[in-house]
Each structure stands twice: as structure tokens, then as C-alpha cells.
Amino acid sequence: MADIIQFVQNLDTQVTEVAWSVFILAWAVGWALRGAPIPIFRVKRTGQDLIEDAILAAFWIALGTTVFSLITYIASQVGS
């Protein structure tokens, strides 16, 4: 029975890793677009949006995974 839990938790860890790397990627892409020497405002605006979203996403990843893993840990302690 424990293998379902193990599977989902492994999936959690992997998705969290992917989410952090995507955050770094989005951050880099955002700054690259924003600082690009292209005088098109929409492109720069998109870069700005990407940076904002990436920062918010990083904040929510950090907060959410902490809170969720805390609750899961407490639940596992109470459940067993």
C-alpha cells in the first residue's frame, strides 16, 4: 500500500525540482527580453510580465511546499 504514497511523493519532489528550474528559466528569459536591445515595447513588456510572474511563482512555491509538507508530515504522524 505504501507504494502509492511513495510514488506520489516522488512525483511531488520531481515536480518541485522542475518548478524551481522553470522559475530560474523564466527569470532568465524575462530579463533577457527586458534587457534586449530591441526597441519594441511589447517584447519588453512581456519580459517584465515574465519576471513578475516568476517572482510570484517562486514565492508561492516556497510558501506552499513548506505549508503542504508540514501538514502532510503532521497527518502522517497522526495517521500512523
Binding site: 504514497i5 506520489v8 515536480v15 528559466l25 510572474d53 511563482a57 511546499t65 503542504f68
Partner: protein
Amino acid sequence: MSSGYSPFYILYIAMNIATLTYTIGSLFYGLPIPIYGLKKWGPRMMSDAIYAAVWINIYGVIIFAIGQIQSLLGVDWSSFFSSILQLQANMFSALIQVKSIYYIITTEKISMALALLADPLLQFSSFITDIIFLLQFFIDLGEFIQQSYMILIAIGILLLSLPFRIGKGIGGTLISSQLPLYRFAVLPVFIQEMSSTSLAQIGSQLSTITDVNTLVATIAGIVPELVIIFIIIPMLYLSILAGISLGLGNAIGGSSGRVPFPLDLF
């Protein structure tokens, strides 16, 4: 639990899946692809995961509240089962009485001519058999609800926590159907409130059948009562419960399930 799946184990899986949903949501949030249809899944799935986590953590409160409301109404499952079983026993004895009267009438040589006239007795006995089946169905339904409402609510919460809102509609329906269906134990009280006669009266009236005279009087007096009590009122009650659970399902799971990609046909 004999199957090895306790409700709390399912909730533990649901909590892990809610974490997964949250992480996928934040992954979508930070995706460097400026497409709104894709990125809107980020905040949506994050709030879905928080919603599911809230449901997981108030599970104990829900179960407690269900039991509490039940005891406020002054009924419990044991009184439900005992009243239905008592009625079933009365029905069985009435069935035996009717059958034996029928065979006495038809096998006596004097009353051979009465055999044709005694045909309604057979119809009445098959009607009683129908009601015995119906009572057995009530007992089975009650046992099913009583034994599995906790695990069904847990499975509903598990479906609620799946990513991309895969099981949101059906999970909400599963949770919301259990909350009113647990009120099925109130059925004997409901019957008593709705009709003029109580179940005990019906039972005692049926058990007085000893000869042809009381039999005819019983058939004439009791058939409409039986139809109302065992067919019309339970159907009314079940449809009220179904209506409540439909409304509750919409409130919990949203109006309908959704596909995990934008689907615009027109």
C-alpha cells in the same frame, strides 16, 4: 477496514496529491510562455489544492457534525433497523396467514366454489411479498450507507484533490450525496410524521389476521395505507434527499466537471 483502505489512509494519499496539484499549479504560474490559456491554470490549480487541503483537514469535523445532527434529530441506525425488521417480521407472519387461509379455502371440499372468489387473496399475498422485498431494500441501503459513508466521503475528497480539476465535479457529488443520504435513518420518523398511522400500528394490524373476516377487513382497510406508506412516502423522501444532494454537489464541486484544456467548439 478489511480491505486495507481506511478513510484516513485515503485522506493521506489525497493530501499528497493536493501537494502535487499545488506544485504543478506553481509550475504553470512560473512558466515562461506568455499564453493566457495555459498560465491561468497556475493560480486556478493552486487555489484548488488549497480548497482540497481544507476539505481534508475538516474531514473529522464533517463526520462529527453528521453524527451530531443525527442525534439532534433523535434517531440512530439501530432504531431504524429494529423498526424495519419488526415490520418485516409482521409482514412475514401476515403472508403466512394469508397463504394458509387461501389453502384452507381452496382445499376444503365444501368451499371448492369459493376458489375463484379467493383469487384476490393471492394478489394480496404477492403485494405483501413486494413490500417485504422493498423493506429488505431499505435495510440493505441503510447498511450500505452506514458502513461506507466515511470511505465514500474520503474518496470524494481524493477526487477533489486531483490536478487539472479532473475529478472535481464527481468528487463534489460523492461528498454531497453522502451528507443527506445519511439522513436515510430518519425514514421511519418521516413516515410517521407524514401518515396518520404509525409503523407499529400497521404491524399490529397485520398480525391480527386470523380468519376470513379479519382478512377481508384488513385488505379493504390497509391496501391504500400500505401503498402510501411503503411506496409513495419513501419515494418522496428519497427525492427530497436527492434534491438536497444535487444542490450541495453544485456548491462543493462547481456546476460541472471540466476538461484540462480550453475547449471552444463555437
